[in-house]
Amino acid sequence: MSNGFTELLVYLDGSEDSMSAAMAAIVLAKQLESHLTAIYVVNTKALQDLVKARIFLDVEQQEYQRDIEGDAVRYLSHVKKLGKKKGVAVECVKSEGAVHQVVRDYISANSIDMLVIGGLSGIHSRRDELLSETDRMMRNATIPVFVVRDNDDIWDMYESLPDTEREDTYDID
């Protein structure tokens, strides 16, 4: 039996929704005194598929991969700073592969007991191929998932936490 939500994982993809999710996760980690990890997955599976389908040239694959890896570092660093400001040490993980599978494997390997994600896509289609990565993540999750809608309340909740910088930091893996 788990001792509550002690290991939280927030998924970042650079969207505003995922940044709201990060702020909500920081609030939760502070209130629950949980350990918080932020993960950004470079979607190398999609990049490879696009090359295989000849939609992308090799040079595009490399260029986009560099761009996304740059985004990953930037967003993870930003979330680490947001956490530090509120006294929450955020462990940052940059990974690559098929996004929802990497997240699922990380959850399993690290005994994560709650996944925090940004807003899901609206229901527009019954086609499985039109599911977003966050949709897939939620549907495949074996642990509770906290879905955060992007709204001002999250920002207010985050801002209402007292600012308390803490010294311990984690490197981006």
Binding site: D13, R54, S125
Partner: protein
């Protein structure tokens, strides 16, 4: 993000009037510029043509997915067009192209750009989808193929 998040009725044209690769790309870019009141039409067109000059985005079975990342747009856009006569788009299978999906994204939205291209690729790979696409006669028909 997936393509249904950005699919916009105003950005679908059936049939396209262009009869060459350049005309089709111009027509799709013009539709976007006009409907979304974008003032940098030339910059967008140059980005798409520059990418196309590196290698054709004409795939097999009549599908073409021209795309570019450009600072001329502030978010990811998808423009869809169907031609009633096949157009030489230097496609992989040597056949003419009929179904065009133009994707444009700003430089800072690489992840979203990839997800959109990937969902178009997966959807258009389906034989049943291609059959339905062939039957579409209006922009509303095309919209309904994705949004149901």
């Amino acid at each position: 993000m997936t393509l249904t998040d950005i699919l916009d009725r105003d950005l679908i044209k059936v049939p396209l009037e262009g009869r060459s690769k350049h005309e089709i790309i111009e027509e799709l870019v013009d539709l976007l510029s006009q409907k979304k009141a974008l003032t940098n039409r030339e910059e967008i067109l140059s980005a798409v043509l520059e990418r196309e000059s590196l290698g054709s985005t004409g795939l097999a079975d009549g599908i073409a997915i021209p795309h570019a990342k450009t600072a001329a747009v502030d978010r990811v856009y998808l423009v869809v067009g169907l031609a009633d006569t096949s157009v030489d788009f230097d496609a992989q299978d040597g056949e003419g192209s009929l179904y065009f999906f133009l994707v444009l994204a700003p430089e800072h939205e690489a992840s979203a750009h990839i997800e959109i291209l990937s969902s178009i690729a997966k959807t258009t790979a389906s034989a049943s989808f291609k059959r339905l696409l062939r039957l579409a006669k209006t922009s509303e028909d095309v919209y309904s193929l994705f949004i149901d």
